[in-house]
Amino acid sequence: MKIYKLKTGYTELAAALLKKGQNVIAPKFSGRTLLFGKIEKAEDAVEPERYVNTVRSAKEFIFPATEPVVEFSYKNKDVKVFDSLVQSDEKIILGLRPCDAAAFTIIDDVFNYEYKDEFYAEKRKNTTLVSFSCEHSDEACFCSSVGLRPDSPQGSDLLFKKDVHGNYFAYSCSEKGEKLVALLKEIFEETTEDFTESPCYEEVLGHMRPPLDTVRIKEWLDKNFENPLWDEFASRCLGCGSCAFLCPTCHCFDIVDETKYSSGLRRKNWDACQFPLFTLHASGHNPRPLQSKRYRQRVMHKFKYYNDRFNKTLCTGCGRCVRACPVNLDIYQVVSEITKENSLEETLNEQHL
């Protein structure tokens, strides 16, 4: 991992990229909402020190909310199908947080195993992830509970950290990162200064929610597919898609046809396990007829099933679902409570012995 000092600030970095004709996606305001969007003017890119995180994650640039995958036309017996074009122009996602960069390394597994989803893979291949370590966290962040830190390099092509004087240092973590530095060599200079244990990020860590015991959580989940706690947790869940749609690691989708006259598109659209229709059969049978079962699926998938399958936790602690949930059904609180139940059980067992 090479380290480079950035001789300018963030806005100048964005400007330099634009000047080189790069396609830059970065956090910017759409009204009051901070979202990733294409940057036309460097000043539109909101400086990382001014936000904790965006409302939506960066996943939509690789796995969009809606994306055509097949096109077709039909006139009587004459039917044709075409591949939809993958929107795979090279792009740079600037100003994303380590939790969002890490999320891609987690969902890469599902999009690539067995069958390769080229719509995901192509965009992923052509996207350079330039993350900025977090100078602030908020009450919802809990990346340190799932093996990450405010300055984790996981998934980033280039990771920026700041020294105490406010200078930016870039850690290049991949070939793509190196390429980007080479492109902007006039504003970067190689250095040996290392902020791996930067005190600033230790402080951010200190303000975060206490780490979760993911091993214990998984142990409990392994044993408690049936447990009255699920009803208790989910009794107030509204069954919306907020948590899943904002989550950088949720990856479920629907496939629908849309038509106009005698041609049409087949689209991949975000979908969520919290909707009753997600699993409803045409016969009326529904394997998850109650919200408690749907909410259980969410927690199980994040902290157990994905682990069982791909050996990774399906959560980066970005806190988006916590911030957005209309009823404050806080996944961190939920999984902490089950670990408490776990220890309670053990004390009871010990007492029996």
Partner: protein
């Protein structure tokens, strides 16, 4: 009355209601995990009522839990629910629409000084002239003084939009709708979006495209606004829960304004009234109906 005192009152009342077996559950608020946020909480045992609180962060309209899909109302025993004066309007509307029976619920009416959102007093509260519950089974917080609202014209924001040219207006809304990801939190939080199958989920035929693209989003928001015309009671939950900050109340308020101008009707005020779009009167001014 201070928040602590009010919270103590709701805990006590909820405890008594469950202890005495008068109600089967109490739907209320509990401490949240984030600043300025509370949790909704459903207690079924008196021992759980310690969790209840009431303060200015209690924005959620709990009437949504009284709709059928929550299946919370079991025969025989009422369910107690915390309701602010504006939330009670949704109960009125649900009763009007035969979704709820008055005797199935025990209303813990909360007099209210307004609730907060992320940036200060909620918009609806700034124009509110109803700080005391219209009716209730128990009143918490005493009777508070009704003062002149800070914003005297509840339709002021709507009028701003109305003053735009058609193309400005189109641009304004298309830009807002563009942010929509179709999570349906707005629908799920709405006490009046209780349809067993929402039109947006119907596939035979598919009336509204489910994709989060301009046409799909436009279709979704217009249809929802029309379905709530003369029914939306203005609790503002849809706008509050929309993480994309789409000003959904504006759409609903526009419809409320039209309904008021046409029929002099305000939703959620009178159990006995018929919402104008569900009935037909000879004096209705549309020629085509006659």
């Amino acid at each position: 009355m201070s928040n602590d005192k009010i919270s103590a009152e709701v805990k006590k009342l909820a405890g008594e209601l469950l202890e005495s077996g008068k109600v089967s559950a109490v739907v209320g608020y509990a401490e949240g995990t984030l600043k300025g946020r509370v949790q909704t909480f459903i207690a079924r045992k008196a021992s759980e009522t310690e969790k209840f609180i009431f303060n200015q962060n209690c924005a959620n309209n709990l009437a949504v839990y009284l709709t059928k899909s929550y299946n919370i109302i079991s025969a025989g025993k009422p369910v107690a629910v915390f309701l602010k004066p504006c939330d009670i309007k949704s109960v009125t509307a649900l009763i009007q629409e035969h979704q709820l029976k008055r005797e199935d619920i025990f209303i813990i009416g909360l007099s209210c000084q307004g609730v907060l959102n992320d940036s200060g007093p909620a918009g609806k509260c700034r124009a509110c002239s109803m700080h005391n519950p219209q009716y209730y089974d128990a009143l918490i917080g005493g009777v508070v003084e009704e003062k002149e609202p800070e914003v005297t014209d509840p339709f002021a924001r709507v009028k701003e939009i109305e003053s735009m040219t058609t193309s400005e207006c189109w641009e304004f809304w298309m830009k807002e709708f563009d942010k929509c990801v179709r999570c349906y939190a707005c629908r799920q939080a709405c006490p009046l979006c209780y349809c067993e199958q929402c039109i947006v989920d119907k596939t035979r035929p598919r009336w509204i495209e489910s994709s989060a693209h301009p046409i799909g989003n436009l279709g979704w928001h217009l249809i929802r606004a029309f379905h709530l015309a003369g029914r939306c009671i203005g609790c503002g939950e849809c706008e509050r829960v929309c993480h994309q900050n789409i000003p959904l109340s504006l759409l609903n308020m526009k419809m409320s304004k039209e309904i008021f101008d046409l029929y002099g009707y305000t939703a959620g005020m009178d159990e006995g009234a018929k919402p104008p779009l569900t009935e037909f009167k000879m004096e209705d001014n549309e020629e085509f109906i006659r």
